[in-house]
């Protein structure tokens, strides 16, 4: 299931809905991404006040559904969920939830890892950071691209 929303989410409620009544599920691996504020440690002006997530409505849902299908084809999942928020979020707030339920522990954990790597590099979201020094768009990280490349997902992205 895919949810792209402004509202916050409750992890317990999402996991309960995902597994409800399915006793073939041995476990649920999940990852919750939070708005982090590391930059403010040294200089108060650098402290993150908020982050605004912009996305491409329509394409986001389509791409998230496609990668969820890909994960389900790679691992024996009983259920899966991606919740991704957009809009303005403050430090400590939840951004994203990925949850994968399976009879098999390692399948659940690997699928969760796969989906997070993909989200970082392929999901059409952009982050605008607000600090005391002003606003700045977050650059994509080479380490995220390398992590996603581990899985050899076929994409038709532009040659870069």
């Amino acid at each position: 299931m895919i949810k792209v929303q402004q509202e916050n989410f409750d992890v317990s409620a999402e996991l309960a809905a995902l597994t409800s009544g399915n006793h073939a599920i041995g476990g649920i691996a999940s990852y919750v991404g939070l708005v982090r504020d590391l930059v403010g440690a040294d200089s108060p002006d650098d402290a993150l006040r908020a982050m605004t997530l912009e996305h491409y409505p329509g394409m986001t849902e389509k791409k998230l559904a496609a990668i969820e299908t890909e994960a389900q084809s790679r691992w024996p999942l009983e259920a899966s969920l991606i919740v991704h928020r957009y809009g303005r979020l403050e430090p400590g707030e939840q951004i994203v939830l990925v949850a994968c339920a399976s009879a098999h522990r390692q399948a659940a954990l690997d699928a969760c890892n796969f989906l997070m790597d993909w989200l970082k590099t392929e999901a059409p979201f952009w982050k605008l950071e607000e600090t005391g020094a002003g606003e700045a768009w977050v650059d994509s990280r080479a380490s995220d691209d390398a992590a996603a490349a581990r899985w050899k997902v076929k994409t038709d992205r532009a040659a870069e």
């Binding site: 991404g33 912009e54 996305h55 491409y56 329509g58 394409m59 389509k62 791409k63 991704h84 951004i95 994203v96 997070m116 989200l119 970082k120 590099t121 392929e122 999901a123 059409p124 979201f125 952009w126 982050k127 605008l128 768009w137 977050v138 650059d139 994509s140 990280r141 995220d144 994409t155 038709d156 992205r157 532009a158 040659a159 870069e160």
Partner: protein, 83 residues
Amino acid sequence: MKVLYFAWLRQRIGVANEEFDLPGDVDTVDDLVTWLIAKGPGYAKGFAEPQVIRAAVNFEYVPFDHRLSNTDEVAFFPPVTGG
């Protein structure tokens, strides 16, 4: 066709989306970028480093040699930073 811009590309160009007929001399995404750059300084600034810009047509990432049709929805944006 409909063209959308996101993140700092949207800010530099100054519009989020626009609709116009596919110009006669525009066959590919690359051609469209060249055509847009000629429209004004905001576009020129937005596409100053075209190698960092990614394109999607009808919600799918495409290379810049992808051929366009007049019914396409084309989106341009910087590298994504989700999760």
